[in-house]
């Protein structure tokens, strides 16, 4: 169950970093092999995450335009490797602010230090960002300013060994101090919907997570109670959550890490109402097509539906198209044969509609494919499932912390057949 080497590659296939964990280095040529597979598959998305090269197992994860490769000569747990690579990507993103070739190259010393602390001998070690940040200082704006003002080169290195490295609470240091104590919980829900052209749902799931940000001194004990915990299932928790209490009383009791973290994720049990409808209608006549899409509120949550967008790809045989809308803005991108319709907030007094008239290539009377449309939206201030947090209690400490709860629902993967 060990990983032998890790490679980080740029968008152009350049090996930016390599780190070998088991003495014997895996030759860089494995990256060439990967790249040739990629060229054959034509797209990163079409390359399975676990592959077998003539010499190694190769697992890869792609984030932004950066490819993370893990190589193992021996059988290992695929999830361990993939999960670890994801963690590396997360941590680097958190450190650099964004995953970008340049930012990684500029901070190569930090990247190497992180790779060194995150894994030893092929076994993942410290992957908690809170703990890592105590050992390796992120290249933040402050450090850059220091270097300009004082002329001292910023150092990413601390000599401090965080007390949490080997403590029994791996996610939290012992001596956390904050001037103002606060804890925020964000309920984030995403819909996954597949709808056919008549509006019938073939798939409708709501997935949620609670993103927490904790800035609390000492060793606080937190209890979160839900108003209606019975509506969720398939829960997964951050390691800090005591699962016994959830099983027994359906409440979350935990000693939080310091900083931002994902407290839990869940799936909503019962079918919820889809807040919007997107209705496409396609007709063809003598080599010309006409796609009409209407959008509206289907189930009113009481909150406005914002950032509404519709992405409608046109059939492969399309040669040209024109778009027209009565609300928001719409454009046609010929390179991807896609119409982008930005509606914004859905009005209550009229029905936004989009009309696309498109010409098919010569000789094509009616295309064979029916592309799938995508919709995006955001509903602030409410969790679509209706999940509500009743109370947050902070025990064990004397201070009175500031507590906040927010909720937001987004479209996630919202697909409509045309």
């Amino acid at each position: 169950m060990t990983i032998q080497s890790i490679f980080i590659m740029s968008d152009l296939g350049e090996v930016m970093f390599e780190k070998h964990y088991q003495g014997k280095a895996v030759d860089r040529s494995i990256c060439d092999w990967y790249w040739s597979e990629l060229v054959r598959a034509q797209s990163h998305r079409e390359l399975p995450s676990v592959m077998v090269s003539p010499t190694h197992y190769v697992m890869h994860v792609r984030r932004e335009d950066i490819t993370f490769l893990a190589c193992a000569e021996l059988e290992t747990s695929p999830l361990l490797a993939i999960e670890f690579l994801n963690r590396v990507a997360d941590i680097l993103e958190e450190y650099m602010g964004e995953l970008h070739e340049d930012s990684l190259k500029d901070n190569f010393v930090i990247v190497y230090q992180l790779l060194d602390e995150m894994m030893d001998g092929g076994i993942p070690l410290t992957t908690e960002s809170n703990v890592l940040k105590e050992m390796i200082v992120p290249p933040n704006l402050m450090a850059r300013m220091m270097s300009v003002v004082i002329g001292e080169p910023p150092s990413s290195v601390t000599g401090v060994v965080p007390p949490s490295v080997a403590s029994t609470v791996p996610w939290r240091a012992a001596q956390v101090k904050h001037v103002s104590n606060e804890i925020f919980l964000d309920l984030v829900e995403e819909m996954e919907v597949s709808m056919d052209r008549e509006g019938v749902l073939s798939l409708c799931h709501v997935y949620g997570s609670i993103e927490a940000t904790s800035r609390l001194s000492g060793m606080p004990e937190i209890i979160v109670r839900f108003h209606n915990p019975s509506i969720i299932e398939n829960v997964r928790f951050h390691p800090c959550v005591r699962i016994v209490n959830w099983e027994r009383d359906r409440l979350l009791s935990f000693l939080p890490p310091d900083g931002p973290f994902k407290l839990m994720s869940y799936r909503v049990k019962n079918l919820v109402n889809v807040p919007v409808y997107v209705k496409p209608q396609t007709t063809y006549q003598s080599g010309e097509g006409r796609l009409q899409v209407t959008v509206g509120i289907k189930h009113d949550t009481g909150k406005p539906i914002e950032n509404m967008t519709v992405t409608a790809p046109l059939p492969n045989a399309t040669s040209s198209a024109e778009v027209e809308t009565n609300h928001g803005s719409a454009e046609y991108r010929s390179a991807t044969r896609t119409c982008l319709w930005t509606i914004g907030r859905i009005p209550r007094d009229k029905v936004p509609s989009l009309t696309v008239t498109f010409k098919l290539m010569d000789g094509v009377d009616k295309p064979t494919d029916r592309p799938i449309m995508n919709a995006g939206f955001k509903i602030g201030g409410t969790a679509l499932s209706g999940l509500k947090i009743d109370s947050i209690d902070v025990l064990n400490e004397d201070y009175k912390p500031y507590k906040g709860v927010r909720a937001v629902t987004t479209a996630g993967c919202f697909e409509i057949s045309t």
Partner: protein, 782 residues
Amino acid sequence: MNVDNRRGELGELKSQLRQLAGSRAPGAEDLKRELFKKVTSYMTVGIDVSALFSEMIMCASNADIVLKKMCYLYLGNYAATNPELALLTINFLQKDCQDENPMIRGLALRSLCSLRVPNLVEYFTGPIKQGLKDANPYVRSVAAMGVLKLHHISPASVKDNEFQKTLKVLVIQDPDAQILYMGRVRSRDRTLGTASATAKRMKEFSEWAQCLVLELVSKYVPAHANETFDIMNVLEDRLVHANSAVVLATCKVFLHLTMSMADVHQQVYERIKSPLVTLITTGTSELAYAVLSHLHMLILRSPTLFVSDYKFFYCRYSDPSYVKKLKLEILTAIANESNTYEIVTELSEYATNVDVPIARESIRAVGRIALRRYDINGIVDRLLQFLEMDTDYVTAETLVRLEMLTACIKLFFKRPPQCQSMLGAALKAGIHDSHQDVHDRALLYYRLLQEGVGLAEKVINPKKQAVADFAESQSSEIKDRIFDEFNTLAVVYQKPSYMFLNKELVGNTESESLMGERELSSPSAHDGFLHQSEFSDNDMLLSASEKEDTRLISTGNGADAYSAPEISILDVAPAVSSSLLLEAPATVASQPKPAGTHQREMPLLPEFETPVPSSRQATPPLASQAVPMDDLFSGLSVPDTAAAAPAPPPQQLVLAPRPSLDAKAFQQKWGQLSVALTVEEKLAPTGIMKLATPQPLNVHMIDRHIFCMASGGKPPNFKYFFYAQSQPNFLDPSAQAGFFLVELHVDTARAMASGKIKADDVSLAPAFAELFRVALARFGLL
């Protein structure tokens, strides 16, 4: 950029570093930092800066932590693999292990232990010992990791220094550090107690350590059912852990613990279902793919599991096609009376997908479901719809229409009355299709049907084919094996690892890799286990009596393992539960070998090494093309070419360093070829001494590029199957690289080895026999 330029730059760096090394001038530290950064950046882009080694160490020896850290990065890159450089760093690192800063102590110790050079081991033990007693937990955990690394370089020194005892004390303070050691080395003391006790402490470990511990627990065989339930109850909450690796490792534990309890096993399926589904729906597609592969396997084992939850496997438009393909397979597998209608409706939706391969897959899937004969009328309607839909179009998607036609006609053979009208429509549409292929195929079917339905069926849909079409292509034996490998790459790849991992590689890396699974110090228990597994891979090669032998061995060793007082439960577990074959494929042929042997491209025996003008070169290219491409038969029909070429002198045969032949192909060849030659050779007494188990000979032969497919037996009789391949001739690539197969009996009592050699290319057999004979004769002498 030219090399000279770079060399000049390196030289400049070198002199700058040297100047700074002793300097205490103000600003020197900053300059050093800049230079170190430059060196590191060169290293990053792949330029070899190992020439600066001594200067780097000189500069870093009195430096602050910033420089030291960069220096350790540098060391990690070059020293670990270069023994000479490693020697230079020892002093420097040993000194840093005494530093007052715990971070430096820890990092220095980590770098020190990463120098995998066996003859430097004596320098590590002191710092590790000290590190284990360090006041700082960070250093202690690095030291515990160090013990583990040390164990793989030199198990003896771990024993000599009584590190196990120290670690035992440590476990009370640092569960994580300890468990890393535990997990890997499986220390033989009883600190772990029972697996259930370990499981109870699970929450004290970090998420990654949990994965390792769970892997161990999965190999444990509980004493009684209550213990099984205890462990499962304690571990149940791991199923909702945020780390998917923990979730999957827990599933594995559950599946394995209940393997022999059929009813509970089924409950386990139900229990692990929802955590796994959660992973596929909420994770990235990379993660989803790995988990789906596991679900696919579970579903093949228990098709009813997801009968009502089939919607989880609906394809999202945004799924990558490899995920879609897997989902289609799963949907096909779970279709039954209750859900066929919905599933087929959904699949029909995909048939209009822009992605043509997926559209094809989905129509095929509909066809496969149709063959199961649930809701046949519904499906027929749907297929007809496809047709109506498609006949209007004239251009693309011919392939899809071809698939359709075939699906229709196959359906017709299954259910003639219902399908007749549909087939009529399909053929009509097909014949009027403007595309030549579709038109031709429709016409072909039509004419075949005119000749008689029975005849047409014989041609289009021979019985065998229809079965192969929907029964899972994998044999249940292979499925079971994959199941044993739950939570491994094999599952994702849908092949047991022994089928695609080069055994030679496995053997080597096992012994070389620091983290290999093997327990060096308990050969008896483990070897017994190994034999068992090798045989089950290959038992089709062996006669019944030999199988008997194997069984004797395994039970014998299993009993040994039981009675051996010092072996911990976790160690015994795999040996006892050998029917589970947990680690088997990964540990096959894992006998210790000198490092790096498989990288050696040349055979050890120089007298047989005439690299370029090999025997095949003499064969004219034209003649060699006459050799049948299928090398399965080339051994039988080869005389043409062999006669054309003069019989090659024996010493010109060079064996390929990495032949690729799997067990199945071996067996097939063995059956097809006849014995070309026999050899008999006396073994050296020193060789015989080593043969308490069959392995040492396998290892010896690998150095000569002769590989073992299977081996077994009990003293004094051992039996081996070897194979080798002649080095393909790069001057004449059309020439087939032939295989040599050997069945060898070794009688240690008489010190004799006798073997039968079979060869693809009979003309090369004498040369090979000579090589083989010399290799045998050398066994034990080197």
